[in-house]
């Protein structure tokens, strides 16, 4: 079985986000990229399937931000091959453009299973997985928390989340695209010594592709929500804060007795 994992780079929220002078885009200079959290789970899920079935895992990333580092980490975690898809873009493109690029790369390769994170924090025009499935004319299921392979590796049996703790189990004929919400276990840790060893010997495949046709969304303005706009802020020592909160509850008759 051949598994492809698509990982994308998103702005690291730890670093804080700034809007650029145009007011329509993020300030690229203040950005630091990180692998999208759900994509990290998709990779973990692929590695778990590999450990159970001996499947091969290929990882693809668009050459944006710290994609090279993310691919090296994927190698250190145990991926067979990693490929940097170079389209000459400076910032992360929209989901349609991304899907178009990956569809071009994946179409000739006949993967049985394509895993990606179900969504990313910068998804405005939909998420990669569903769009890619559409382009490749493959079935798609998202919000997945578990993937097992069916008899003969012909299908994947997946668990999909619904509100209120409900889960449905679906069987998808392969090849298919799956949008992972969370892997069966949290993404594994890679010790730095292994990472550095891999860095020395890493073979990161590169594939140059034409820039995407899909037009970016014409965002008219970006804005931040007003800080603490809604809340009246309480001040004081922890003890005073606790007292004030209890007072608020008492005023509203929310306390027993």
């Amino acid at each position: 079985m051949k598994i492809a994992v698509l990982i994308k780079q998103v702005p690291d929220l730890v670093e804080g986000l700034e809007i650029d002078a145009s007011g329509k885009a993020l300030d690229q200079d203040s950005l630091r990229y990180i692998i999208s959290e759900a994509d990290d789970h998709a990779l973990e899920q692929a590695l778990l399937i590999r450990e159970r079935t001996g499947a091969s895992v290929d990882v693809f990333a668009l050459d944006v931000g710290e994609a090279r580092d993310s691919l090296t980490t994927a190698l250190a975690k145990g991926a067979e091959r990693v490929t940097l898809v170079a389209a000459g873009l400076e910032a992360a493109p929209g989901s349609h453009a991304l899907a178009e690029l990956f569809a071009g790369v994946l179409r000739p390769q006949n993967f049985d299973l394509i895993l990606t994170g179900v969504r990313a924090i910068d998804d405005l025009d939909g998420s990669l997985g569903g769009l890619l499935a559409g382009l490749l004319e493959l079935p798609y299921v998202g919000l997945i928390r578990k993937v097992e392979t069916g008899p003969g590796g012909e299908t994947a049996i997946v668990q999909k989340e619904f509100p209120g703790g409900f889960i449905t189990e679906l069987e998808v004929k392969l090849p298919a695209v799956l949008g992972i919400q969370s892997a069966e276990q949290p993404p594994r840790y890679v010790p730095v010594s292994r990472l550095r060893q891999v860095m020395k010997t890493a073979k990161i495949g590169e594939q140059a592709v034409e820039p995407p046709q899909a037009q970016p969304i014409a965002v008219e303005r970006l804005f931040k929500p007003e800080e603490g706009a809604g809340a009246s802020m309480l001040e004081g020592t922890p003890e005073e804060l606790a007292k004030q909160i209890a007072g608020l509850l008492a005023e509203r008759h929310l306390l027993k007795g």
Partner: protein
């Protein structure tokens, strides 16, 4: 293309989902301004009884087939794509939910129409449809014009009131064709473990997030909830760590709650969480990060360590309630 607004209906366990009413209400407003009609699309098996709740629509398209009994993305998508191509509405509104999220991508490609996700606001301004989506964990909002073709918009649950969607009426009913044989099949529904508290029915909720730091502090929150006479719920990170059962998760892919009190402790307020609790009557948030989005939503806020506040608050409440 028409000026119609289409709403993709959702239901689960035989009940119409709240999001569908929210979308219907919004669709009515937009259709009025765009001078179009509202069409509700309902897929399932034996969904006839639900049609009565969709009176706010002018037209109701129903696909009723055993293959549609459970949500199977591929099957649903095939039927809806067909209908979109046929009807050519100005807007197709879906929920940014377990159902809508699986549909918009394939639909966008198959119907060759643009799509937008994470929408929290839709307005008609000078004939243009202007939308706002929340991005980057709720830290940035993007405003954009929805192109003047058919467009798919996935709306974050809780963004619009449900009340206008409950209007009575007698829509014309259209029958949609049966779906093609799918490559995806439904196997079973796994229900949450029984016996646990249904947090959507508890009026006083103590909600804990990443700021609770570790599993050892969960009992502190439970003690507080007990003192209040409420229950503990949590945001995704806490559930993922296995510190509380899945049934206690509030937000996307968790429960939506509307309690009298939502005490958000150590919760930053990621949009996935917020959509499940923003309709709470009173929200009091405690978080160490003064810039946490939860403070934008809460009625009262305090910048402090939740772990430190919890026992103090338990003490205060115990004293106050005698």
């Amino acid at each position: 293309m028409t000026n119609d607004v289409m709403v993709i209906g959702e239901h689960f366990q035989g009940a119409l989902s709240q999001i569908t009413l929210e979308l219907l209400g919004k669709a009515r407003e937009l259709a009025g301004q765009l001078d179009g009609k509202v069409e509700a699309v309902l897929l399932g098996h034996g969904v006839e009884p639900l049609a009565a709740e969709l009176g706010a629509a002018d037209r109701l398209s129903i696909a009723d087939h055993p293959l549609l009994e459970h949500f199977v993305p591929e099957t649903y998508e095939a039927v809806i794509a067909q209908r979109i191509k046929q009807a050519g509405p100005r807007l197709v509104l879906l929920g940014s939910t377990s159902v809508g999220l699986d549909l918009i991508g394939p639909l966008s490609v198959r119907a060759a129409v643009p799509c937008f996700d994470n929408c929290t606001s839709l307005q008609v301004r000078e004939g243009r449809v202007v939308a706002i989506s929340q991005l980057y964990g709720g830290k940035i909002f993007a405003e954009y014009a929805v192109p003047e073709t058919t467009a798919l918009v996935a709306v974050v649950p809780g963004s619009f009131p449900a009340e206008p969607g409950k209007a009575a009426g007698a829509p014309e009913v259209l029958r949609l064709a049966a779906p093609p044989a799918p490559r995806t099949t439904f196997r079973k529904l796994i229900e949450p473990p029984p016996g646990d508290v249904d947090v959507s029915k508890v009026p006083l909720l103590v909600a804990v997030g990443r700021g609770i730091q570790n599993a050892d502090n969960i009992p502190l929150a439970e003690e507080l909830a007990e003192t209040l006479g409420g229950a503990v719920c949590a945001s995704r990170p806490v559930i993922d760590q296995g510190w509380l059962p899945l049934t206690r998760q509030v937000g996307k892919s968790g429960v939506t709650v509307k309690p009298k009190l939502y005490l958000a402790l150590g919760i930053s307020g990621a949009p996935e969480h917020v959509e499940g609790m923003k309709q709470s009557e009173l929200i009091i948030a405690v978080n160490t990060d003064a810039k946490a989005p939860i403070f934008g939503l809460a009625h009262y806020g305090a910048v402090a360590d939740a772990v430190e506040i919890i026992p103090l608050l338990t003490e205060q409440i115990r004293a106050a309630s005698g």
